[in-house]
Symmetry: C2
């Protein structure tokens, strides 16, 4: 079962969209640049995606799936239930370093294109709610010290992660995400 012709084109487009939308922003990236750097024809793009907004939605959905799958795999490799919680912080730090502190793709999308299409906001809410739920499950099994309730600890890890990514993207270094990890370590 080899890849179909259309899927190759779609993948090339989405790879380029991912890179450009993230690195230079949705509004600063023109369709012409997407097709040039994808090495495909303009008509091909508009055969697979009705509009630029549609491309944005597809990019977000695909990114969401890949990103979350990597998070689950990253945490699964850790055995200790408390260390699993810290792995969530490590994952975010590693990703931000890889992305050169460009910030969270969902938040960027929310800030730039959030108002135009409800599907975009929906996808972002899905992604964030899913992470929070994931953290919640890890907290429940962690056997933490109960300085905070399960719900509170979940919220704390979630918010400090979000805040840490924001701070890392402002100061262009991992310090805040590392500090967050140490604090969580103390609280569990």
């Amino acid at each position: 079962m080899t890849k179909q012709r259309g899927q190759v084109v779609i993948d090339k487009i989405l790879d380029t969209a991912d890179r450009l939308f993230y690195n230079q922003g949705y509004n600063s990236t023109g369709i012409n640049q997407v097709i040039e750097e994808s090495d495909i024809a303009k008509a091909s793009l508009y055969k697979h995606f009705e509009s630029k907004t549609d491309l944005m939605v597809a990019y977000l959905q695909r990114f969401h799936q890949g990103w979350f799958a990597r998070l689950e795999a990253y945490v699964a490799r850790v055995a200790d239930p408390k260390l699993k919680l810290l792995a969530v912080l490590d994952y975010h730090r590693e990703r931000q370093q890889l992305r050169e502190y460009g910030g969270c793709p969902f938040i960027k999308a929310n800030n730039e294109a959030g108002m135009s299409d409800t599907r975009i906001l929906s996808e972002i809410q899905n992604a964030k709610a899913r992470v929070k739920k994931f953290i919640g499950k890890l907290v429940a099994k962690s056997g933490h010290r109960k300085i905070l309730t399960n719900k509170e600890l979940t919220e704390t890890i979630f918010l400090m992660t979000e805040g840490g990514v924001v701070a890392a993207s402002v100061f262009k270094k991992p310090a805040d995400l590392q500090a967050a990890k140490k604090i969580i370590q103390k609280l569990i």
Copy 2:
């Protein structure tokens, strides 16, 4: 000492820029819309600001000053040193409600125009560093329970505030900022 002619124009422009850049984004706001809604001529804008980027920088600097002054005044009205810490959370929640959960203006600017001009990133870093320092001073005088060190508590409040604003702007409700307040309350 009444306002000079030029200053009135500058204020009108910056008021409009503030509103439009925040509500619809920097890249989605054209110079033509700014001059129309400011009720000024295009040549007037370009007499006071060299370029659109210059206008963005000026908007961020002015917003930074006003926002921080309001924060200081808001916290100063609270007497109890521990409640001052919680007031920081309240201030962010109130502001986000007023702004209809549009998120943090600095983060939005960072995501959208951060790469184009170093002055923009600088201004954002200034603002965030200043808030963190401000929280640090409040923590030092708070007489908190020392579950966390001063530095750790400062970082925690800072990150949960940033994360709370992000979460509020994603879910379009104040729940996460309110949850953050309760958790901080427990930790001090």
